[in-house]
Each structure stands twice: as C-alpha cells, then as structure tokens.
C-alpha cells in the first residue's frame, strides 16, 4: 500500500475546507454540495481498506511513522521521550473509521436542515470529521489527544450556533464537562509518558505488561491512572452521574450534529476505555470489573427509568443513549470474549441506531416543529414512511433480532451471565424497560388518534431517503450477518484477551 494512505484519509476533509473558503458565502446549494463531496474521499478510502482487509490484506502496511519532536538528547535517549506522528489501524479502529466516514457523509446529507451560515457550518463540520477520523487512526497517545481536542472545539460551535433554544447553555455544559475530561486525560497521558518515555499505544501496553513488579509505577498509581481514564472517557460515554451535559446536547443541537455526536463522539469514550483502559491496564481492569458491570447496570436501568417519563422524544432518545451505553459497560465488565465483543458491537450498533433515530427526529421536526410526544400522535397517518422508519428504528434499538441491537445486547448479556449471573439478571430487567419506554414513545408518536392536521405535510423526500435507507440497511446487515463485524474484530479481541489473560 502506498505511503501516507491513512494520512490522506484522515485529512481529506481539509480539501473541502479549502474549497469552501473559495465559495461565496451566500451560495447555499454549492456550499452544501461541496460539504457533502468533501466527506466522500474518506468514505471511499475507508471502504476500500475495509474490503481489502476482508479479502485478507494485512493492516500493518498502513502504519505510518514520522519523527515529530523529542525531549532530551536523542543521542543518549534514543527513541525514548520522542513523540512520533504515528497512524495505524487494527480491526477495531478500522470498523470505527468506516462508521465515522459513513455517518459523516450521511450527516452531511442531513445538514439540509441547517438554516443559516452554511459556510461556517460545513467548515466546522469537516474539521470535526478530521478530528474523529484522527482519533481512531492515531497510534500515539499524544496524537490521539490532539485529535480528541480537535473534535471538541468544532462540536462546541456546532452546538452553540446551530442548535435550538437553549443551545448556548448546552454548548457550554458540553465544553465544561468534556474539557474537564480532557484535562484528566492529559494528566494520565503525561504521567504515562513521563514514566515510560513513550506514548506509542502498543509500546505502552508492552511496557506496562512487562512491569508486573510495579517498578515503573506502583500498583496504586496504575489503579489511579485507570480510574482517571475511566472518568475522562466516562464523561464522553457518558457514565452515570456524568451524563447531564449529554442530555442537554442531544435535545438542543441540530439533528445532523446529534447524529455525529451520538453516533461517533460518544463512542470515542467507549473506544478509549477499551483501547487504553483495558488495553494498557488489563490487570487493574480485572480488579474493578465488578464496579464496571455495576455501573453498567445502573446506567442501563437509570436511563431506562428516566426515559420512561420524558415527554420530549429527544429526551427519550437521550436517556436511551445513556441506557444503551450501560450495555457497553456491562459487556466490558464481563471481561470475557462474548462480553467485550458485545460491547464493541454495541458501540457500532448504537452509533447507527442513534444516528437513524435522530435523523428521523430531524425529518419530522423540520415539518411539524415539535418533538413533544403528546403533540405528535398518529403520525403514521400523515407521514407513514417516516413513521415506519421510526418504528423500525425503535425495534432496532430495543434489540429486535435481525437487527444489530440484538446481537450486541445478546453478547453483552451472554458474557455477563457467565461471570455475574445475579447482576446480569437485574440488568435483564433493562431489556423489558427498554421495550416499554421505546414503545411508549414511538407508539405515542406514530399510533393513536391523529393529534394535528397533516394536510400539506409531505412524507420523507428524495435526499432524505438516503440516510434512512443506508442506516437501516447496515443495521439489518449486521443483525442478520454479524460476521461482517466479527471478522475484522477477531485480532483486536485476541490481543485484549491476551492482555487479560483469559
């Protein structure tokens, strides 16, 4: 494979930003087209890698490594304390890259609902895409952190400028929470770097793994670092009780931004926990696995119960995200193959489902100007296709077999039942509750007596078909043929399991 393939992939949206600079501010349609086109190279390139990998190509050849900067004297320290620009992928990050690229393109399509200042919007949007792609491609903690921060700032503006009524408040709570999370993450990265002299993820993993005598870092310090990592990524995920910013963002941001936010940005939290928490500190992770599983069950039930009493459909979805992220934690807490695989599946699957549901919210909010469940009843009459998709999305979300949600939920519980059956049984209550709150909300919107006049309101239109159909298609594909995901993940899983020693 030619050099710098990954770099080109990650930075390809930059081309769009440059192109947008040349487009006049008022030319709405051109801006939208350029914005959409700019997401395509990354999509195509990531799909190419994906299919090559599926046909047996090795991912190692994609690794890139350049000297970047160095602390201390290179002649005496050698590679120690040098920070390199390292990109590389394995099965897990490849899957996340593909997911990011797909959702970015679809969210760009969903950006038709943006009403003002398209130019600024798309520039920030593309910058956000660079950040997200980079996060998953980075092989180096410091590079990871930089990309992580790149996602933060555009999101802040995207929420704060193009959201709904309380957008500023939402944007600020987003920034404060995530800023704190980043600060904690930075501390962890710096401590690791200072102690081991490397920030390469694989290198760190190897060093910490060989440090079974706790010479570099005491056992307590390792545990502390792991907990700090959990907090840093727990804010993103979010883990109860660090979630309130996320509810606000989900409600206030515009649909296309929430698609990316719920679809990818939350997943960075899970990615980080799996990659760094579990990858670098497997022994410590084992010690707190029970806590993770309990947190997962708490997340699951807490989100579900709260989703049960919400009136705004977006709130329901926000709390359902919290609930679903509980399943990720449950899977991780199980700490066996089934559980971890379930967690990763849930990451991907919830990314798709949440994106689909929020896109549909965008579709009907655009037409009806409300997302309050009592004001919406009987939508199936006026907008049958939208209602159908909504119902299908809800089914996917509540874990209907044949769709991706089931596979992940099933594997996560399969894993946890092996380790902690009683906790898992409590968590299984969540499956019922999920069905209850989703049906309550979705049936409240689509079924029942028609609450309003649907005359003159069109159903889903041309461009809107694409995101709905593509997302639905992938959801069903994963549900019916999960090997499409398991095969790329095999090697990653093996590595993790090797670290855990199980």
């Amino acid at each position: 494979m030619n050099v710098a393939y990954l770099s080109i992939l990650v930075f390809s949206p930059l081309l769009g930003i440059l192109a947008l600079l040349l487009v006049p501010k008022a030319n709405e349609s051109l801006i939208k087209i350029v914005g959409l086109l700019a997401t395509l190279p990354a999509l195509l390139m990531s799909l190419v890698v994906f299919f090559q990998y599926r046909t047996g190509a090795s991912l190692a050849s994609f690794t890139e490594e350049y000297k970047w900067f160095q602390f201390g004297d290179p002649s005496t320290l050698g590679d120690l304390f040098s920070i390199k620009y390292e990109l590389g992928i394995d099965g897990f990050s490849l899957v996340m890259l593909v997911l990011t690229a797909i959702l970015s393109t679809l969210a760009a399509i969903a950006s038709i609902y943006i009403k003002k200042e398209w130019k600024g919007y798309f520039m920030l949007f593309l910058l956000l895409e660079i950040g997200m792609l980079g996060v998953f491609a980075a092989e180096n903690l410091i590079l990871f952190f930089i990309f992580f921060e790149i996602t933060l700032i555009p999101t802040f503006f995207l929420i704060g400028k193009w959201g709904y009524f309380e957008k500023e408040k939402a944007a600020f709570s987003f920034l404060i929470y995530n800023g704190l999370g980043s600060a904690v993450l930075l501390i962890v990265i710096m401590v690791l770097f200072a102690r081991t002299g490397t920030s390469n993820i694989e290198g760190l993993t190897a060093i910490i793994a060989s440090d079974s005598q706790h010479l570099l870092l005491s056992a307590g310090a390792k545990m502390g670092l792991l907990v700090a990592l959990l907090i840093a990524f727990g804010v993103k995920l979010p883990i109860f009780p660090l979630h309130s910013w996320m509810v606000r963002v989900h409600v206030q941001a515009s649909p296309s931004v929430v698609m990316l936010h719920a679809g990818i940005l939350l997943k960075i939290g899970a990615y980080g926990i799996i990659r760094f928490g579990m990858g670098i500190f497997p022994d410590q992770f084992q010690e707190i696995a029970v806590v993770i599983a309990v947190l997962g069950v708490v997340n699951l039930l807490y989100g579900a119960f709260l989703a049960l009493v919400q009136i705004d459909f977006k709130m329901v979805l926000a709390y359902s995200s919290i609930s679903h992220m509980g399943i990720v934690l449950i899977g991780l807490g199980a700490l066996n193959e089934a559980g971890i695989q379930g967690a990763i599946f849930q990451v991907v699957s919830h990314g798709l489902i949440a994106a689909l549901l929020f896109f549909l919210v965008g579709v009907f909010y655009e037409r009806l100007q409300t997302s309050n469940i009592p004001n919406l009843g009987g939508m199936a009459k006026g907008m049958p296709i939208t209602a159908g998709f909504l119902l299908a999305g809800a089914m996917a979300s509540l874990g209907m077999p044949g769709m991706s949600g089931f596979v992940s939920e099933f594997m996560a519980f399969l894993g946890l039942f092996k380790e902690m059956p009683i906790l898992a049984a409590v968590g299984a209550l969540g499956i019922i509750l999920t069905a209850v709150y989703l049906l309550r909300a979705v049936l409240g919107i689509t079924y029942g007596k028609t609450q309003r006049d649907f005359a003159g309101i069109t159903d889903i239109r041309r461009a809107e078909w694409i995101p709905a159909l593509v997302l639905m298609g992938i959801i069903v594909l994963i549900g019916v043929y999960p090997s499409v995901l398991t095969e790329p993940l095999t090697s990653t899983l093996e590595t993790i399991m090797l670290g855990i020693g199980g």
Binding site: F410, I431, A435, T486
Partner: protein, 619 residues
Amino acid sequence: MENAWIIPLFPLLSFLFLIFFGKRLKDASAYIGILLSLASFVYSLLVLFERFTSPTHKAESVWLTIGDVQLTAGFEVNQLNALMLVIVSLVSFLVHTYSKGYMHGDERIHVYYAYLGLFTFAMLGLVLSPNLLQTYIFWELVGLGSFLLIGFYFYKDEAKRAAKKAFIMTRIGDVGLLIGMILLFWQAGSFEYDEIFAAVEAGAISSTMITLTAILIFIGAMGKSGQFPLHTWLPDAMEGPTPVSALIHAATMVAAGVYLVASLFPLFTASETALMTVAIVGAFTAIFAASIGLVQKDIKRVLAFSTVSQLGYMMLALGSAGYVAGVFHLMTHAFFKALLFLAAGSVIHAVHTQDIEKMGGLWKKLRVTGPLFLIGTLAISGVPLFSGFFSKDEILIAAWAHGNTVLFWLAVVAAFFTAFYMFRLFFMVFAGESRTDMKHVKESPSVMTIPMVVLAVLAVVAGYVNTPWFGTFLGDWLTDGNPALGHGHIEGPAWIMIVATIVSLLGIFLAWLIYSKRSLARDWLGASTLYNVLYNKYYIDELYEVTILKVTKGISVLLRFIETFLVEGIVKGVAGAVSGLGHVGSKFQNGQIQRYGTVAFIGVAILIVVFTVTGGYLK
C-alpha cells in the same frame, strides 16, 4: 428436505416485496401474498411426506464467532418440526386467502399482507430452528409480527394499547427465556438442542440448574402462550383484524410457547419440579380462563379466553409428560380454533358488531358460516367423533396417568366450562330471534367461506390420526426413535373418556337450557359479585395497573427527582464552584503588581514545600 430452508423465504419475499412495491399494487398485493404462502404450504407438505420415509435432517453453518465459540444457524427437520411446518403454513395460507375477502377495500391492504408475510416467515423460521438461539431470534420476530398485526388499526387508541401490551407482556416472558437460554448455554456449552439434551442426559448439569433454566424458559413460553399470569395481553390482542386473530391466536404464535416446551421436552422431563410447574400453571390457566370465558360479551374475547384455556390444556399435557397429547391437541386446536375465529370474523363481517348481546338468529341468514361455526364449537367442546374429543381425551388420560389427580379434575371442570361457554356463544349468536336490525346481513363471499370449509373438514378429521380406536399413528411417528419423549400412547382407564363425554354434553345441555330454551332465568347472573369478578377478568389488569405500573412509574419519578436535584445539583455545584473560583481569582487581578507577585510567590512556595516534603510525585 435439504431445501426446507426455502419454506420461510417465500413469506419473507412477500414481506419485502410488498413493503417496497405494495403501494402501487393495491389489491393485487393480496394475490402475491396468497401465492407465496401457498408455495410455502405446498413445500411444507412435500417436506412432511419426505419426513415420513427419511430420518431427521439437520444443516448448519456458522453465524457468529465469539472467541473459540461458534454459534451456528441452520435448520432441522424432525417430526415435530415437519408437522408444525404444515400446520403453520396451511393456516397461514388459508388466512391469507380469507383476508382477501375480509380486508377487501382497505387502502392499507398491502401493508396488511406484508405484515402477514413477516409473521409467517418468523413463525416458519421458529419452527425450523435447530438451536435455542435461533429459536429466540424468530421467537422475537414472531412477537414483532404479532405486534404489527395487532396494531394494524394504528389510529385506534385501543389497538395501540393492545399492541403495546402484547409486545411488553411477551417481552417479559422473553427475558425469562433469554436468561434461561444463556444459563443453559454456559452449562451445556451450546445452544444446540441435541447437545443440550446430551449434556442433560450425561448429568453434566446440576439438577437445580436444570430446574431453574427449565422454569425460566417456561416463563418465556408463558408469555407467548398467554399462561397465567402473563395472559392479559391475549384477550386485548383481539383489536387486530379478525383473520389475524385466527392466525396468531389459534394456530401459530400462541402455540409457539407450547412448541417451545415440546421441543425442549427432554430438559423438562429431567426435572420433576419443572414439569410440575408446567402442569400446575397449565391446569390453573385452563380453568381460570375458562371461568372468565363464561361471561364475556364480545365474540372474539370469548374465543380469546377459550384459546388461553386450551393452551393451558396443552401445557397441562406437557407437564404431565404427555408429549404426544400436547402436540396432538396443539394440532387439532390449530384447526378448530382457526375455524372458529374465521367464522367469527365472517359473522362480524356480516353484522358489523362484536357484541353477542346484539346478535341472535343468524342461523338463517348465514347459511354457510352457521354450520361451520357449529362444527368448530362441537370440536372444541369435545363432542365425540370430532377432533377435539380425541386430543382432549389424550390430555386427560395423560394427567391421570401421571398421578395429578387434582389437576385432572380441574381439567374436567374446565372441559365442562368450555362446552358451556362455547355453546352459550353459539346459541346467543345463531339461535333465537335477532336482537337488532339484521336486514342487511349477507353471507360472506366464497373467498372467505372456502378456507373455513377446509378448516372445518380438518377440524373433524384431524382427530383420527391418533385415536385409541383406529391406531395411534401420530403418536408413534412423533416419538419414533426418541425414547426421551415418552410413549406414543398412554393407556388410561376407559371411564375417563366417558366422563369427558358426559361433562361436555352436560355443558352443552346447560347452555341450551339457559340461552336457547331459556327455561332457566339468567337475570340473576348479571347482578352477582361473582359475575362482576369474572366479567372483569378477576381484576388482573387493574391489579397490574396498581402494582407493577405504579411501582415502575414511581421509580421513574423518584429517579427524575434524583436527576433534577442531585445530579443537576452536582452540576450546579460544580458550576458554582468554578464561577466562585473565578470571582476569587478576579480579586487578585486588581492591577497591583505587588499582589500579583504575592500570589505567584505563595503558589511557588506551596509547590516547593510540597515537593520537598513529599520528595516528588509518584515516587
């Protein structure tokens, strides 16, 4: 038989095709549905015939890999599966055909047929599953299909509520099934039926675990088959179109629970406790639902409670180790209950009401439906020579032979109730004078009556495949080569058959006295407390309302308080602390270099002292 996996694909094709292109086809979509369901029926028949001569066929491929564990998907054709395939595809085909007349003119008919296709696909897939996981997958899809069909009239609030209730109630059972299945997986190391049975037989699983998993799986079956206490969704589910009730609540979905217990029969027989649980729940449900059925006024609700009651019978049979009896009754019940529902649909189609108080005297108007309904009623009441008689008899014998005397007598009483309320229904609908204006009542078109005729024939003759008089062909075939399932026929004392006959005739006679001849007054009934309790279904719904629902709501509200006051409080606290720090910080910024210096120096001093005292961070 190697290609049996094609069978479920026909209805799936129908579903996909109609979902995407149905809107343009309008009424023609009915033909697609009918044709494809016919295809799967014909194919099922071929498979069944082939199965008579060749052994069980099983084929699988890897579906999902978890580490070293490979979960497979595939299909299996054994005796039970082959039989169920035919029953399901036949009833499905007949319902497809019938719906052409019943749903005529509905502008969403293509959606209706699409849903029917989805449901049939799921049910056939369920029947073909060779392992628990696949069973669970299709089990859920069956739930989805029934949910969609029940909620077909989505604009009615009742339909919405009923659909939601059906989904959630069955989901509660499903979670039991899921837990039981996963526990079993970690015990037996596989989801495959044969491997689970092998593990059970080899004693690899502790007996408590067997009991626990069997009961958990039975909870799943309870949800789908409407066993007490998860039965409340079934009567409400009558909000769907009537042919759907015939499909879902007679032949297929509700039978899935019975089917599940039957296919896991070796697991249940390994635990006496589990068997007992199944038997007790079954018997209780049988009499419980039958007693409610005595007083209902909605024609479909009567049939619904009768379904619940009959399912209880089947469970009782299985719980009494009467594998053949259970499956046999499942089959005969599928035919006569489908017949009854379709006939009821025909009546409703004609008079546009479901209230039996408003009917009467329809015998003369509905010359075809009337006799067909009568055949169904006779069959379900267990009148000799009809199919229900033989299968019910088998169940009673099984219960007696297994030593469940109490349950046996409960079942006998339930049989009496059944005969009574079914004939009460029949007499109120067809006999006597019409109680409302019935001038425009017309017989249904032949597209509706022909399926009923087919079912009526089956309702009569289906019993003869397994009788004590002409040989127990079905039983021998079902248990062939599988000793774990018990004997093909259980010998029982002959008086049981006589008692059963007398009881059912007595029930019919009583119903005749009260509702046709009216020699017994029935006014006093309406006022009594018992009547009210029965009419309101023992207030189970209300009980759930005040207990489970309220508790759930309560927890939600409580958590919302926590959310608003505690979590948000923390947030506000953090925000307050930050802005407070900001205020303190801004005090330093008074422009005086001395103060800047002071603050900076104190900071440095603190750092230096800390470092000196601790000797550096993370030593």
